[in-house]
């Protein structure tokens, strides 16, 4: 196999200078040949394993890796869907009704999720004030094999949710993520939106799914700008 | 990382010309000079697969007390940061080692002979060996300080010539100066040169950077060199290998440097192109 030194350095996860020096010093089974470097793939990967190094030769068609960070709030919201007039008199029954709407999961998973949400609510309420609650499980779901999503549920009537400011809750964002990292990321973004009073007022108008997503996209643009700076 | 040019300072008028030339090169290229003021007449350069002992003539050691101030003065005049090279390792007590992680090195046409001999027509054997083993291009300065405002690449089709051409593109990009390519068509046809360009995927750059491709088809090689502008930095590859050697400018390096007095930037066979 013949590669350039840059490709070799990349596939061994080593600095370029180190690889070049090791080849010169004869510490690595790679030979210089003209402008490229030749090696036997099997021998090199054996060598790498013996020296606690990782070797993954560059793929012909590099798979595009999905970075969980790239997941935006809007796409998570879109994936979760927006639902209106969720029935229920107290926290538990409302959650139960809300979970039923999540069409991404099968019934078994729904039941499990419901139990988890209840456990989390027993710890402290996820009602973060201003009539908004963000129910989520304490830990990411095990055997989670899905992209993160947020299901938006506007309630039929506000309910007591033991929220921080004791205001009754009229909207729930059920947040489900496969990893803690994406969970925190989405949660902080959502919290940023809710901190804005005008957004809460906007929510109180029970906006349509499209309008909600548009609004959220606006907020995200602001956030992205701040991040990029 | 900033490019570094290695310069061995000779504290006499001739050395001043060379240093001025290096400073000019650095300013054009945005490189920073590293100046070595020798304390011994010899030093070793350890390359990848060769060690070269450079024996300087004694004029390099003359008046050591003024050397630093002279060099500093010239560098500051040029508006460049002053950095002197202090050898850290010694092979023997009077034999310092000089590492070779530089991006360019400036050499007079010969560094181990008396300056009176230095004129045209002769590249010292040490300079030749440096060119041969170095991973960096070697700037062979003109006998007197000479500014340049264009670039001329000699392209003869060998791997080194291709490297020289790429270096020419890079310098043209960094300095914004026009680039001319010169080819002396010997026994082989012009098409084979174009084929080399195509094989190396250089067609686009060729069209973009090159001002004019001068082709010499007849006449004696040296006579054609009159066409090379006297204010050009001449870039060429040295020492083609094997078969290609026959129709390469590489073997013509000596002819070129003995005929024209321009500044030469020579790319050796071990040159590693850095982007």
């Amino acid at each position: 196999m013949k590669l350039t030194i840059h490709e070799i350095a990349q596939s061994l996860y080593l600095p370029l200078g180190t690889v070049r020096r090791w080849i010169r010093q004869g510490r690595i089974p790679i030979h210089k040949s003209g402008n490229g470097f030749v090696f036997n793939e099997a021998i090199l990967s054996k060598w790498a394993a013996a020296h606690h190094l990782t070797f993954s030769p560059p793929k012909k068609s590099p798979e595009k890796q999905q970075d969980p960070e790239l997941e935006t709030l809007s796409s998570a919201l879109k994936r979760g869907g927006v639902f209106y007039d969720i029935k229920g008199d107290d926290g538990a029954s409302t959650l139960k009704a809300a979970v039923e709407h999540i069409n991404v999961l099968d019934s078994h998973a729904k039941e499990k999720l419901y139990q988890r949400l209840l456990e989390r609510e027993n710890l402290t309420s996820t009602g973060i004030g201003k009539g908004v609650a963000i129910p989520h499980p304490h830990n990411p779901l095990p055997d989670a094999d899905f992209r993160p999503f947020i299901t938006t549920c506007f309630l039929e009537k506000p309910i007591e949710f033991a929220a921080l400011d004791n205001k009754p809750v009229f909207v729930m964002f059920i947040l489900l993520c496969p990893s803690v990292k994406s969970h925190l990321y989405l949660l902080s973004r959502l919290a940023f939106c809710i901190r804005d009073d005008s957004f809460v007022e906007f929510l109180k108008t029970f906006p349509s799914s499209d309008r909600l997503l548009l609004k959220i996209a606006d907020f995200e643009e602001q956030l992205d700008r701040a991040d990029r700076y | 990382m900033e490019a570094q040019l290695f310069h061995i300072f000779r504290n006499n008028p001739f050395g001043r010309e060379t240093l001025l030339q290096s400073i000019y090169f650095c300013k054009k290229m945005g490189a920073s000079p590293v100046v070595y003021i020798p304390k011994f007449t010899k030093f070793l350069m350890y390359f990848e697969n060769d060690v070269v002992q450079i024996d300087l003539d004694s004029s390099y050691l003359s008046s050591p007390d003024t050397a630093i101030s002279h060099a500093t003065e010239l560098l500051e005049e040029g508006g460049l940061s002053v950095r002197f090279f202090e050898p850290k390792h010694y092979t023997a007590t009077t034999l310092p080692d000089i590492h070779t992680n530089f991006d360019y090195m400036a050499c007079p046409r010969s560094i181990s002979d008396l300056s009176t001999k230095i004129g045209l027509g002769y590249i010292g054997p040490k300079v030749r060996r440096i060119v041969n083993s170095a991973r960096f291009p070697v700037l062979i300065t003109s006998p007197v300080y000479k500014e340049w405002d264009r670039i001329a690449v000699f392209f003869g089709g060998s791997a080194n010539a291709v490297n020289a051409l790429k270096l020419g593109f890079r310098i043209s990009r960094e300095t914004g100066l026009p680039l001319d390519v010169f080819t002396y068509v010997g026994k082989v046809s012009l098409e084979s040169y174009e084929q080399v360009i195509k094989d190396e995927n250089l067609k686009k750059e060729m069209d973009y950077f090159v001002n004019k491709w001068h082709i010499f088809e007849k006449g004696i090689f040296e006579e054609n060199l009159y066409e090379v502008p006297h204010t050009a930095l001449v870039i060429l590859g040295a020492y083609g290998h094997g078969l290609i050697k026959n129709f390469v400018f590489g073997s013509k390096m000596e002819k070129i440097q003995s005929t024209i007095s321009n500044n030469l930037l020579i790319v050796g066979p071990n040159y590693v192109a850095t982007s």
Binding site: G17 | N49, A92
Partner: protein
């Protein structure tokens, strides 16, 4: 044409690419033969020169001969081949440890000629170190010609040294052990096999051309228990002699360098002084193998006083020759001084306990040699095997081991670095494979620099900076000047944590006010050991790398550890 070209790149042949051991063995034969021939050439020319000058030795001005020889040899080294003086072994070890054994081509013959001039004319020095230098340079240049890599080149340098020693002493094991113990300092089968082959090749070429003769033949020895006890005393005596020789060499070197005369004048003065000593005690002249032969054979019939004086005289003569600019090694003088010391000791024993029947004096001469070689080189194995092989006397092995071991440890106690290594140790250049110093010297700042730091401008508000902190993977933020992009200082998150949570400060503070400007910086060309020393001294975990006032990146201890470990694993396995 292609085939013609590729024969210079055997390492890229498919046959050798899988495993270079075969290639190395093949090369080892070539290198062993070449360096063996070089050693023989020196040996032959020494004999020729000795015979040629022999007829002048009775003339009264014969004492200037060593002076002329030494002056010529230093002129040759200084002006013709432009190499430094010295015997060259430290240079070989240095190059092996730092530059993969790259040696100049001229080294492969320069020392041969210069030492031939010094020794042939009567200077007290040995031909072994020059031969080792030549052999090593031959190995290195053969490796260079075939474009081998550093590891292979180092092995061939060892092969060259082994071939040379094997050939000059007709002693394959000694050559092998010397090369591994002194030159390479690493016992690995990848090295040992080719070096053994080179030693065999070197020995064989010498046997073909010179005949299989043992250098110093000897009588049968019957060693009693009492003799073994007596060895303890001899070991101490040889240790003292080694230390005296080492100190004397150094002080002579110091004295001669205080004199501001041209180098060849110094050499001439030293040589003439040796010549004058030689007028009275001819045993000090030359490499002295005849004298050693006589002493082992028991035919060196001199009294105690004379032998003791001869011992000292040889020490002084060696110091005069080598310290004042002559060219040659320490090996042969060690053998002579050792056997003289052994003889002295034997005479003392007889004087003190005349009734006991001590073993033959030749045996003590032999043990003395081993003691001195081990003491000077601090290489006990080399001492033991060399003496066993050059005398063919396996029966002395027990006292030999005792004397070598004690002499080595005593010398090590007083002079921690051996004669060959002292210069390197003093400069901090002794980098044996697999050691901390070696790993650090191979790594450099450019390899461990982390370039994912986000740089900020000095007039940025703290408010804007907060947003940068959010996305930065690091806790360090280099601050640059707006216009020149020069590095001004660095902000460490730990230092500004207090203001971070105080929104009132957000618009009140610019980064230029809170950055740390008194930071230690690293230059990309700095040695890593130096960088680590700085870090330890100031209890730092990260340092910015700055060149020409521009920030290049950060180096941190975590990355150093990571790379250090990889480097160590790669360097020590094989």
């Amino acid at each position: 044409m292609r085939i013609f070209k590729s024969w210079r790149y055997p390492a890229s042949w498919k046959f050798f690419r899988l495993d270079d051991r075969l290639l190395l063995m093949l090369m080892a034969v070539i290198v062993g033969l070449c360096s063996g021939l070089a050693a023989l050439a020196l040996n032959r020319s020494l004999i020729a020169m000795f015979n040629w000058l022999h007829k002048y030795h009775h003339i009264w001005w014969a004492f200037v001969l060593p002076g002329i020889g030494a002056a010529l040899s230093s002129l040759f080294l200084e002006k013709v081949v432009v190499e430094g003086a010295g015997h060259g072994v430290p240079e070989v070890i240095y190059s092996v440890s730092r530059y993969g054994g790259l040696l100049r081509f001229r080294s492969s013959y320069s020392r041969l000629i210069s030492s031939c001039l010094t020794i042939g004319s009567g200077g007290s020095a040995g031909p072994e170190a020059p031969v080792v230098m030549s052999g090593a340079a031959i190995g290195s240049n053969i490796a260079k010609y075939f474009s081998l890599n550093d590891r292979q080149r180092v092995t061939l340098v060892g092969c060259g040294a082994a071939g040379a020693i094997s050939s000059i002493f007709n002693a394959p094991i000694a050559g092998m052990v010397f090369s591994i113990e002194v030159i390479l300092g690493e016992w690995k089968s990848v090295n040992i096999v080719p070096i053994a082959i080179a030693a065999v090749a070197g020995t064989e070429i010498s046997r073909i051309l010179q005949g299989n003769q043992i250098v110093f033949s000897h009588l049968q020895f019957n060693i009693d228990l009492l003799d073994i006890f007596a060895c303890l005393g001899l070991a101490i005596l040889t240790a003292v002699a080694s230390i005296v020789l080492t100190r004397m060499l150094r002080s002579m070197y110091g004295i001669s360098h205080k004199i501001s005369a041209p180098i060849w004048v110094r050499a001439a003065v030293g040589g003439c002084a040796v010549g004058i000593i030689g007028l009275f005690l001819p045993v000090v002249l030359g490499e002295g193998y005849h004298a050693v032969q006589a002493m082992i054979g028991g035919t060196f019939s001199q009294g105690l006083a004379l032998v003791a004086i001869a011992t000292l005289a040889k020490v002084v003569a060696t110091a005069l020759t080598l310290g004042w600019g002559g060219s040659g090694g320490i090996f042969a003088p060690c053998l002579v001084i050792g056997s003289l010391a052994g003889l002295t000791y034997h005479h003392c024993l007889i004087l003190l306990w005349p009734s006991i029947s001590w073993v033959n004096e030749g045996c003590f001469a032999l043990l003395g040699m081993a003691g001195l070689i081990s003491g000077m080189l601090q290489a006990p194995l080399t001492g033991i095997f060399l003496i066993v092989e050059i005398t063919g006397g396996y029966e002395v092995i027990l006292p030999l081991i005792i004397v070598s071991a004690i002499s080595t440890s005593l010398c090590h106690y007083i002079e921690p670095a051996s004669f060959y290594l002292k210069e390197l140790v003093e400069r901090g250049h002794l980098l044996r494979p697999g050691t901390d110093a070696r790993v650090l010297s191979d790594l450099n700042v450019r390899e461990i620099i982390e370039e994912d730091c986000i740089t900020v401008k000095q007039n940025m508000l703290l408010r804007d900076f907060i947003n940068i902190i959010k996305i930065s993977p690091r806790n360090y933020f280099p601050v640059e000047d707006e216009k020149t992009n020069n590095f001004l200082g660095i902000i460490h998150l730990d230092d500004i944590r207090a203001y971070l949570f105080n929104p009132d400060m957000y618009d009140a503070v610019v980064l230029g006010q809170i950055m740390d400007t008194k930071v230690d910086v690293v230059h990309p060309d700095d040695d890593l050991s130096e960088v680590l020393r700085k870090m330890d001294a100031h209890q730092l975990f990260s340092m910015p790398v700055v060149s020409n006032n521009k920030f290049l990146g950060l180096i941190s201890k975590a990355t150093i550890l990571d790379q250090y470990r990889k480097e160590l694993v790669v360097q020590t396995s094989q």
